[in-house]
């Protein structure tokens, strides 16, 4: 057993864990942060993406002991304390960027990181920036729209009408 201390979604936590425990298991099984999910065993799908000290990582590909002393943000810590959604969360809802929702936590966390690196990405940049996250439902079309819409929201630019079906559809 190894003792770890870290900050997860703003809360300080400490536990004795087996060194083999993955960060994603620690989040899910010890902290009950089941918003972060496991979609594969080859670090291909990105469903488990969280932020580790401010950068997106696949939490299935980090040992919990490696995160000792770090700050972790999961999908559950993304909205403001008063429940106001992060613009990326809001945009996924607005643009129908999710269906079954299983890839969504990882997809949103990666999109937030992507926009931090590149606040005004082209469609191609969005697509490349999400290459480590698999979605089987949406065909990515509306995910890309959502990230671009969030970029507009976060930069304060007008995003134009979004309620018309045509806008989202085509």
């Amino acid at each position: 057993m190894t003792r770890i201390n870290l900050t997860v979604d703003g809360q300080r936590v400490a536990d004795d864990i087996e060194p083999r425990m993955l960060l994603v298991q620690y989040l899910r099984e010890r902290l009950g942060k089941t918003g972060t999910v496991v979609g594969c065993d080859t670090s291909s799908c990105g469903a488990c993406t969280v932020h580790l000290d401010g950068a997106s990582v696949k939490s299935c590909n980090v040992l919990a002991v490696q995160a000792d002393g770090a700050t972790v943000t999961t999908i559950e810590g993304l909205a403001a304390e008063d429940g106001t959604l992060h613009p990326v969360q809001e945009a996924f809802h607005e643009c129908h960027g999710l269906q079954c929702g299983f890839c969504t936590p990882g997809m949103i966390m990666q999109a937030v990181d992507l926009l931090k690196q590149n606040p005004d990405p082209s469609e191609e940049a969005v697509r490349l920036g999400l290459e480590g996250n698999l979605c089987r439902c949406t065909g990515y079309h509306n995910i890309v729209r959502a990230v671009q819409r969030a970029a507009g929201e976060m930069s304060g630019a007008s995003t134009g009408p979004t309620t018309g079906a045509g806008e989202v559809v085509s």
Binding site: K33, D41, T42, C45, I75, L98, F102, T138, A165, V169
Partner: protein, 793 residues
């Protein structure tokens, strides 16, 4: 009683944002694997590495001695108590159906089959101990190649004496729906055109994003099963029927379920083993598969060889089509596995007026993972074959692929139209959808660019692919299912409960796993009942709440489940009417209902249905003989399938040096009748398109000569990423379905069915001038490169 108010905005046709999203975007979702119960034990499976072997011994001593291991159980230990995985659709009376024990004790028949289960206090300890289980196998010859297996060269189940599970046949001359196909072919050989091809439908893996997971809690009087399934109702029936436990003692809950695409339309060995272990130990248990286990053992899809003969006159008017399939079932006949090719039988004639048609499928057992429904189930295979053939015919005649289709398709004024396969298409307008698709696509400009690139011998060639698909969905009229020997009906059930607060609680037998039922069904109820969208709550996926249902697959939920909802709402209104008359002191005949209110004709006197619900709850002042409830239920059995159609146009760029194919443009005009929620519909089409495109270009489940699944992880089973796909141009035409009151047609599978041939047609079109007329799917760069260079692979 209030004065008249503004009629609410029509909900049907409105692009409502989804009710489901809030929990999913904040991580407050209830996946099965999130469930933890007091004293819960964890399962790890020991799986066979061999495709076919006799189990000569299992030594569990070391595993049992491991820390925190509670039990290690083999097939012999569980015995008959484990029940069986059932086949619900024996396609012929004498179908050869191997008994499917969830955990066999004597012989394994595919690599990945479970031979022992370890039960421990943690999942990690269960896995550690599973590594210590020693199994002695005597390897047996394995039936791996589909064509060899069809000839019984090696038997997948030696005790059955054959690999052929069933031969199912349809002939339009025998059925009286058309002419004799052999005659048509003979005639075409003399002065007409005969196109003979053999196409491969490669084996695919549904690859839903949420791995399957099951929790079984046997404590108390009832056994509760949470499962990541599409079919909680069917699963409850199957568990009960195969174990002898009464249905009333089993509660199946499908909580939030992360995708299915047919892949979770199954009663799995893992569910049955978890059920058996929980009952035996009297403790809650959980099993969650890894992705590798999922790819290996969750059912696969497609896997057919299609031998096709198309006959036409010299102008390209088709005179007959003959289809001879080999379908790989894997080592067991899955719940509807044998029926998948049969569903395709009705779709090979597609949107065309073929005068003669013959279909035969030979369903073959092999020592591979079982196959069953995967998005489209039979219809993508058929659509691929016919849409590829129409392009070949166009090339032969020397006309544009759209022109050859127009020569053969059913004209819009000819609906309703009875096809050569015996189905009655109720509505459609292929001309309109095609015209709109061409316009969006910029068809003529792209053809000009293609010609220009060919002219100058560009390294990157442009190809245009066409797919004018239709499909049969809204499974299914029960009488039709009965005639096909299917083991159940095709109805759906719904219940509407009027709550005293004025809210409406709706129960559906459909079981969503990403489709957005909570939103779309709320819209239907809101519109029909005249209540606010926000006041409608949809309950589903729990057999205790939704006692009756046939679940979600086959693009059925809206068109069958939604229609059941309409019927239930109408019953509520009927039940409310006498109460309204009583309270308004008017005659029932003087009342009219609209916008959620009963009004007395010619007056401003009225009352909202929700107010009546409150009055009925209080029951202080009801007419004599009227029960104190407006709650109503309805079961709807569709009278026909429905037939969405559309024209899909795809442009690809082919790098002739490397064989790499890149998507350039994709435009689709679909006709799915009346649309309830355009936002959700577009999402279904987008996702469907990418799955179909992925079959054309990327995905394949590959076994090696040892029967090992080579593409056994997401490193080798290639799901596309955002960076591999493009944005789509979509629009729709509207030919309302005439056989349901919503006028709606299913849309869940349309994109997948349509896109695969559109893409492959585009790839072949790009390099046809280099002497290529086929590329086997997936069109890998290597295959394309070899085709260009004259050597197929």
């Amino acid at each position: 009683m209030t004065a008249t108010q503004d009629a609410p905005v029509a909900e049907i046709g409105r692009d409502r944002r989804r009710k489901e999203d809030q929990r999913l975007i904040t991580g407050r979702t209830r996946w099965t694997d999130n469930i933890t119960l007091p004293g819960m034990l964890h399962l790890a499976m020991v799986r066979s590495p061999f495709p076919h072997a006799r189990i000569s011994g299992i030594d569990t001593t070391a595993a049992k001695a491991s820390t925190n291991v509670v039990a290690v159980l083999t097939g012999a230990d569980l015995g008959e108590g484990q029940g069986a995985c059932i086949n619900a659709w024996p396609v012929v009376e004498d179908q050869v159906t191997p008994a499917h024990v969830p955990m066999p004790s004597d012989r394994v028949t595919f690599a990945g089959e479970i031979v022992a289960v370890v039960v421990a206090r943690t999942a990690a300890e269960a896995r550690d101990a599973a590594e210590l289980v020693e199994v002695d196998y005597e390897e047996l010859p394995a039936a791996l190649d589909l064509k060899d297996a069809a000839e019984n060269k090696v038997l997948a189940h030696p005790d059955l004496g054959t690999n052929v599970s069933a031969v199912w046949r349809f002939d339009s001359a025998e059925a009286g729906t058309g002419g004799d196909v052999e005659e048509a072919i003979a005639k075409a050989r003399d002065g007409g055109i005969v196109i003979e091809r053999e196409y491969r439908q490669q084996r695919l893996i549904p690859a839903f994003m949420e791995p399957r997971s099951v929790v079984v809690d046997p404590t108390g009087e009832q056994i509760t099963v949470w499962s990541a399934t599409q079919i909680p109702h069917i699963l409850r029936f199957a568990i009960a029927a195969s174990t002898g436990v009464s249905e009333s003692k089993i509660r199946v809950i499908a909580p939030d379920v992360g995708g299915g695409f047919g892949g979770k339309l199954q009663q799995t060995p893992e569910e049955m083993i978890a059920f058996a272990v929980a009952r035996r130990l009297g403790k809650p248990v959980k099993y969650t598969e890894t992705r590798s286990e999922s790819l290996l053992s969750a059912h696969h899809g497609r896997d057919q060889w299609q031998r096709l003969t198309l006959a036409a006159d010299k102008d390209g008017n088709v005179t007959g089509l003959k289809v001879d399939l080999l379908a790989d079932l894997g080592s067991y006949v899955a719940i509807v596995g044998g029926g998948v090719p049969v569903l395709g039988a009705f779709m090979f004639n597609a949107i065309y007026k073929f005068p003669a048609y013959q279909f035969q499928t030979t369903n073959v057992l092999t020592n591979k993972t079982w196959t069953d429904a995967y998005r489209g189930a039979g219809r993508p295979e058929a659509t691929y074959a016919v849409e590829r053939l129409m392009d070949e015919l166009a090339a032969e005649v020397g006309v544009d692929p759209l022109e050859i289709r127009e020569r053969n398709w059913i004209k819009h004024e000819e609906f309703p139209f009875t096809t050569v396969a015996g189905l009655e298409y109720d509505s459609g307008n292929y001309e309109a959808a095609t015209a709109r698709a061409k316009e969006m696509f910029g068809y003529d400009a792209l053809r000009a660019e293609q010609a220009e690139r060919r002219e100058r011998g560009d390294r990157v060639q442009l190809g245009l692919g066409v797919s004018t698909f239709t499909e049969m969905c809204g499974l299914a009229p029960s009488r039709v299912l009965g005639s096909l020997n299917y083991g159940a009906g095709g109805w759906e059930h719904a219940e509407v409960r009027m709550l005293p607060t004025g809210k409406v609680e709706v129960v559906t037998g459909a079981s969503a796993h990403g489709q957005g039922h909570e939103t779309a069904f709320s819209q239907i109820v809101a519109d029909r009942l005249g209540v606010p969208f926000e006041d409608v709550e949809i309950l589903h996926g729990d057999t205790q709440i939704s006692h009756k249902g046939l679940d979600t697959y086959g693009s059925r939920s809206l068109v069958v489940g939604g229609e059941a909802l309409v019927k239930a709402v109408d019953k509520v209104i009927e039940k409310a009417k006498p109460v309204a008359a009583h309270l308004l002191e008017a005659s029932v005949d003087d009342l009219e209902f609209g916008g959620g209110r009963f009004t007395v004709k010619g007056t401003d006197q009225g009352m909202a249905v929700t107010e009546i619900a409150t009055a009925v709850f209080a029951a202080h002042n009801l007419p004599d003989g009227v029960e104190a409830s407006l709650d109503s239920e309805a079961t709807y059995d569709p009278v026909n399938f429905n037939y969405p159609h559309g024209t899909h146009l795809c442009a690809v760029e082919v790098d002739t040096e490397t064989g790499q194919v890149k998507m350039r443009k994709y435009a689709a005009c679909d006709d799915i009748g009346q649309i309830i929620n355009p936002l959700i519909v577009a999402g279904q089409v987008h996702g469907g398109l990418v799955q179909g495109i992925a079959q054309a270009l990327w995905e394949e489940a590959v076994y090696d000569e040892n029967g090992t699944l080579v593409s056994g992880s997401f490193v080798d089973y290639l799901l596309p990423t955002a960076a591999d796909t493009i944005s789509f141009d979509l629009d729709h035409t509207t030919s309302p379905c005439t056989t349901n009151s919503l006028g709606a047609k299913g849309v869940g599978e349309a994109g997948t069915i349509a896109s695969t041939p559109a893409v492959v047609n585009a790839v072949v079109d790009a390099i046809r001038h280099l002497g290529v007329n086929d590329i086997q799917m997936p069109c890998t760069p290597e295959r394309v490169w070899r085709a260009i260079n004259g050597g197929a692979k």
